[in-house]
Symmetry: C3
Subunit: 138 residues, 3 copies
Amino acid sequence: MRQTSLALQVETKGRGFYEITRGLAQFVSNAGMAEGLLTVFCRHTSASLLIQENADPTVLRDLEAVFSKLAPEGAPYLHDTEGADDMPAHIRAALTQTQLSIPLIDGALALGTWQGVFLFEHRFRPHVRQIALHLIGA
Amino acid sequence: MRQTSLALQVETKGRGFYEITRGLAQFVSNAGMAEGLLTVFCRHTSASLLIQENADPTVLRDLEAVFSKLAPEGAPYLHDTEGADDMPAHIRAALTQTQLSIPLIDGALALGTWQGVFLFEHRFRPHVRQIALHLIGA
Amino acid sequence: MRQTSLALQVETKGRGFYEITRGLAQFVSNAGMAEGLLTVFCRHTSASLLIQENADPTVLRDLEAVFSKLAPEGAPYLHDTEGADDMPAHIRAALTQTQLSIPLIDGALALGTWQGVFLFEHRFRPHVRQIALHLIGA
């Protein structure tokens, strides 16, 4: 049994979904384990993680519309230090995931056929996001 | 330290909550570990996981009503390839969990007295859902 | 590779956010591992976990307002055995996390600069909440 870690950086161009499945798969492949558990951790409170369909891009556009309603800009928030998208970003992060763990099956991520892993950037402006990866197995 | 994995199948009869606690407990019991971590991963984007009260079934009926409001059928979604429940299923999955990890205490799942683990089927029609289980410990 | 577990108790004074980051960091520090994975598991269905900004307290007040809207007291719930905050507590728990896993980086939790881990108490009255901690690594 062994473990390995990686600091993954994701450059975003502002609010939206950024698929990171390939980077995760490569990290897992490099480790050469047959069985194990990958953990993906987003080190921010204004960006988060989501597993969603990566086939039809309209799914992501509909999801964005849903979160825009659940966490609207322009609501009377107490916290708006960094602008109109500040508090909505925190709400979006609270309603999605900061961390995901994915088992391996036969040395590859156990993702289903249509599942992709996305970094969900909630801020309007581009950011460099830090993702901590941890893999344990054999 | 060792690890073991299992592909669990859950047959659903359409939208609703399907308790899988017993199957998880059996997998853990068979492994015979005193200390460890169980990870449950749902390999779909139109079904998800939830830990909720398994004592009073009205909790689940109220939860279903909440998610019906948060992700209504009949809203003007861009993505409706598979029918009226297609995009609502993705939204429900985004707002709940694709993965859960549960530590062991004295060889059993650390679930509280009233906690049950449920597969939350979001589609109207019956499906066979694939759940990947991973257990690591000693 | 080794693992260690702890039963953490958190006394709440009723609905609100209770930061537990320090308790988690101490557990990790005591274990003396350089690399590993901490899992935090809330053994209740009327309290949950959340990673959020721990710098400006208005973030938490805005979040509380959001969840009060998403899960209002006084809605016509079927399940109200324990009072007006009973079903809202279950809904808040369903929309946030029962479990969080955080990798270690150089022996410390991989939390970002502004990230704190909070127990989110959903009931009005004070409770003693049981949190199961599990750490695996080396």
